[in-house]
């Protein structure tokens, strides 16, 4: 027999690895990305490609310089890239997309030390940066399902680096489409008071609505991930519950000013944010109770920002605030240690009663040495 090796227990290992988790998330994102390309054509495809490549190159750069852990082989930068591209308008200038990808990894991830150490969701850091830097470009959506979307770029996509993108309004007019169609449903409601029906939003198939991928598709992919336990179901459920409840409460109070809760749930990036962004493992709490608190915080914050701020969309800031609060939430929601909770009462009906009925009450309660004891010595042998 050859030399044997010494290892520490446990000597068996579950099948789950970081790469596998990330690969599954990428896999579940692929139908969403495919639908996004189907909606917006080659501009969306180019945007997805450029942003993801930018993220991967940045990751490689910082791994090479040694300032962060992980590598592009762990697929986490790919997820950041796809999510970032999905959250940007499809006609977003490609050079701005590349900047967003660079900032997402450099400021959102590498600065903190790479995979696992980031405090904020990198994709949202990138998006927040371009939201501040290019406010007009990020607000100009184009309608979906345009004819000729697979042969022609949206003009703003191909803006030269460091140049402002051209106006898309005249391009749209040439295609005989109402310029209003290029506002997102949330912006339409916020600035014009037009509410789109929830069923149209769910599928995002009707008309030329300027929306992202279909919420139904994202939910289906999210359910797949949750069933395979690659994301925690508590966070999206808490977000939808809190956002829906807050919106419903405000709606019942004043239905003329505020939209119905279903419009709130299915418009904008709430579904994508709740299923894919807020559930980012590194930036959400590890404790089960903390996940409920975190999701609830994001849900309420989203509705508040949407209703009362100058911005039409609030999911991004709500999640970033939730990320910042995560360490504090974890601190107050540590799990209850076995034997420290309500230990006196049977939690679930056990098979047997603690004290059998045929011993007397005095005998049953005669057991209470307080401290850990060493057995008292009955007799000493010499």
């Amino acid at each position: 027999m050859s030399a044997i090796e010494i290892r520490t227990a446990p000597h068996v290992k579950g099948p789950r690895t970081v790469e596998r988790i990330m690969q599954h998330v990428v896999l579940s994102l692929s139908p969403i990305a495919a639908f996004f390309i189907y909606q917006y054509g080659i501009s969306a495809a180019a945007s997805l490609f450029v942003v993801t490549i930018s993220c991967l190159l940045t990751e490689r750069l910082f791994v090479k310089t040694g300032s962060q852990s992980g590598d592009i082989s762990d697929w986490s930068a790919t997820i950041t890239g796809i999510l970032l591209a999905l959250s940007l308008p499809p006609g977003f200038p490609l050079w701005m997309g590349a900047v967003a990808g660079f900032v997402a990894i450099a400021l959102g991830k590498a600065l903190f030390g790479g995979i696992g150490f980031n405090v904020f969701n990198p994709a949202l850091v990138g998006r927040a940066f371009v939201q501040a830097a290019f406010p007009t470009a990020i607000a100009s959506y184009t309608p979906s399902f345009l004819t000729g979307r697979f042969s022609e770029f949206i003009p703003s996509s191909l803006a030269w680096p460091l140049m402002q993108p051209p106006e898309t309004a005249s391009w749209l007019k040439a295609m005989n489409i109402d310029a209003l169609a290029s506002a997102t449903p949330l912006a339409k409601w916020k600035f014009d008071g037009v509410v789109v029906s929830a069923s149209d939003l769910m599928t995002s198939l009707s008309g030329h609505m300027a929306v992202g991928p279909s919420p139904l598709l994202i939910l289906a992919c999210g359910v797949y991930l949750a069933l395979r336990r690659y994301l925690d179901w508590r966070i999206p459920v808490a977000i939808f519950g809190a956002a829906g409840f807050t919106a419903w409460a405000i709606y019942t109070f004043d239905p003329t000013h505020y939209p119905d809760p279903f419009f709130m749930l299915f418009s904008g990036g709430l579904v994508l944010g709740a299923v894919y962004m807020a559930t980012d493992m590194a930036t959400s709490p590890v404790t089960p109770r903390g996940m409920w608190v975190y999701g609830g915080l994001i849900g309420v914050m989203t509705v508040v920002i949407r209703y009362y701020s100058g911005l039409p969309e609030g999911v991004m800031y709500a999640i970033l605030i939730g990320n910042a609060a995560t360490p504090l939430i974890e601190r107050i929601t540590q799990p209850t240690v076995f034997g420290k909770g309500a230990a006196k009462k049977a939690r679930r009906a056990g098979t047997y009663p603690l004290h059998p009925s045929y011993i007397s009450r005095e005998e049953a309660s005669a057991v209470a040495p307080k401290k850990r004891f060493l057995p008292n010595k009955p007799k000493k042998h010499s």
Binding site: R7, P10, I21, V286, G339, G341, P375
Partner: protein, 453 residues
């Protein structure tokens, strides 16, 4: 079955379901031949080591006491074979450092019958006498922890035990020795339970068996039916509990059976319970009336490449190399584990003997551990898998990050490190392959040393 468990409520919160790999569940227990020499380490259990009472060159017969002790947390040893004491010297031990041991060269022609023990009638023995007899058998917990059984059966003065919980879970993958003992020695087990009931003064005994061993439940039930009518000590029940790791931890089993939690840092006696392993009680049921000492135990020898895996009755002190040769371990064995794969210990050398606490010998070839070899350790990605699997309700993710920063004091005071019993669930599920349990072992050791100074 899963659905049924769902409606019944899970046995205890969290925990994991590793593949069970019980290769040897159907094989009857076989006897291992006597090795040319045996090595009996003096320290085989928790507590002080006993001292040798034989001299080099002395002839011993099987079952004769060769080491004795006065210390309460210690047990005597008996000669596992008839032969000549060859040496009393330092020998490799399972823990790593060499430790004092008695080496006995087996007499080739001896019948190896236990001639030392004398049959006795225990019907009138008082609990104190029985306890002394249990001490004299040298019995320790055969489940793996090797805590002296007489100490475990002693109920402290101010407390009272009403229930004896008999642990037949055997939740570790690969191991089947308790399973086979329950199937083949159910009558001895019932006998042992009766002695334990008398010693502790408990009025009922409940045997908890995981529901992946239905034939063990049936065997014990029929043994209970056979013993019906002459068990004045109290009622004996057998109960199948949902299969889940680490059900074999006594606190988890109590939660599964009674729905209550043993207070943190406390012992089952605080709820009026005494917990013992089935293997221990079955051995007591056989040894006590025969008046013999513990000289052999059932060991599962298994592994993916072992030619003749099975449960073997192994004389204590048999060197590992002899056991592995007999069972036909593959030539390219890479790792030999004493105990189960979740909590067992890597054997440092094949000269290490089988001791009282070794429940299994598990052999892995290099391709069995190749999957673990190529895993890369990532920083914690805070996926929360460990929190969802820790049966004690700890936060291993947080503890692991603190351990990496050497914040051991904080781990102990704020994050309940002391409640961790090193079951290995967190490390098993960790996608980042962080050696969490090892970090906790180090942290506990450092804290113990700091507390001692």
């Amino acid at each position: 079955m899963k659905l049924l468990n769902y409606f019944r409520g899970e046995a205890f919160q969290r925990g994991i379901h590793p593949p069970s790999c019980k290769l040897t569940a159907e094989t009857p227990i076989r006897r291992l031949p006597y090795a040319p020499y045996v090595v009996v380490p003096l320290s085989q259990h928790i507590g002080k080591a006993p001292h040798a009472i034989v001299r080099v060159g002395e002839e011993v017969v099987r079952g004769q006491p060769i080491a004795r002790t006065d210390d309460w947390l210690s047990v005597p040893h008996h000669a596992p074979v008839t032969g000549v004491v060859e040496a009393i010297e330092l020998r490799p031990s399972a823990r790593g450092p060499w430790a004092p041991a008695i080496v006995i060269r087996t007499h080739p022609g001896a019948s190896q019958e236990d001639l030392w023990g004398q049959e006795r009638n225990l019907d009138d023995a008082s609990p104190a006498d029985l306890l002394q007899m249990i001490w004299d058998t040298g019995m320790v917990g055969l489940g793996g922890a090797a805590f002296p059984t007489h100490a475990k059966l002693t109920v402290p003065k101010q407390a009272k035990a009403h229930t004896l919980v008999v642990n037949g879970c055997e939740c570790e993958p690969y191991l089947t020795c308790d399973h086979r003992v329950m199937v083949e020695e159910a009558d001895d087990l019932i006998q042992g339970i009766r002695y334990a009931l008398r010693v502790t003064g408990a009025v009922r005994a409940i045997v908890g068996v995981e529901d992946n061993k239905p034939e063990a439940v049936r065997a014990i039930q029929s043994a209970i039916d056979r013993a019906q009518g002459h068990t004045p000590e109290g009622e004996i029940f057998v109960e199948a509990v949902p299969t889940k790791y680490p059900q074999g931890a006594e606190k988890m089993l109590i939660t599964a059976l009674f729905g209550v939690e043993v207070p943190s840092g406390g012992l089952p006696i605080q709820l009026g319970m005494v917990v013992n392993n089935v293997g221990t009680l079955a051995a007591l049921g056989r040894l006590l009336p025969a008046g013999q000492g513990l000289t052999e135990r059932v060991v599962t020898v298994t592994g993916p490449g072992v030619e003749r895996p099975g449960d073997y009755r192994v004389p204590l002190g048999t060197p590992l190399s002899f056991v592995l040769n007999y069972a036909g371990a593959p030539a390219d064995s890479k790792q030999v584990i004493l105990g189960g794969p979740m909590m067992g210990q890597s054997a440092p050398s094949l000269d290490v003997p089988i001791t009282k606490g070794v429940s299994g010998v598990l052999v892995f070839k290099s391709d069995d551990i190749a999957f673990r070899e190529q895993l890369r350790t990532y920083p914690c990605i805070k996926c929360g898998e460990c929190v969802e699997s820790c049966p004690m309700g700890l936060n291993p993710s947080q503890l692991g990050m603190l351990a990496a920063k050497r914040e051991y004091e904080l781990m102990g005071s704020q994050y309940h490190l002391g409640d961790c019993f090193e079951c290995g669930c967190c490390t098993y599920v960790c996608p980042s392959s962080i050696p969490l349990v090892q970090q906790f072992r180090v942290a506990k050791q450092v804290l113990r040393e700091r507390a001692a100074t």
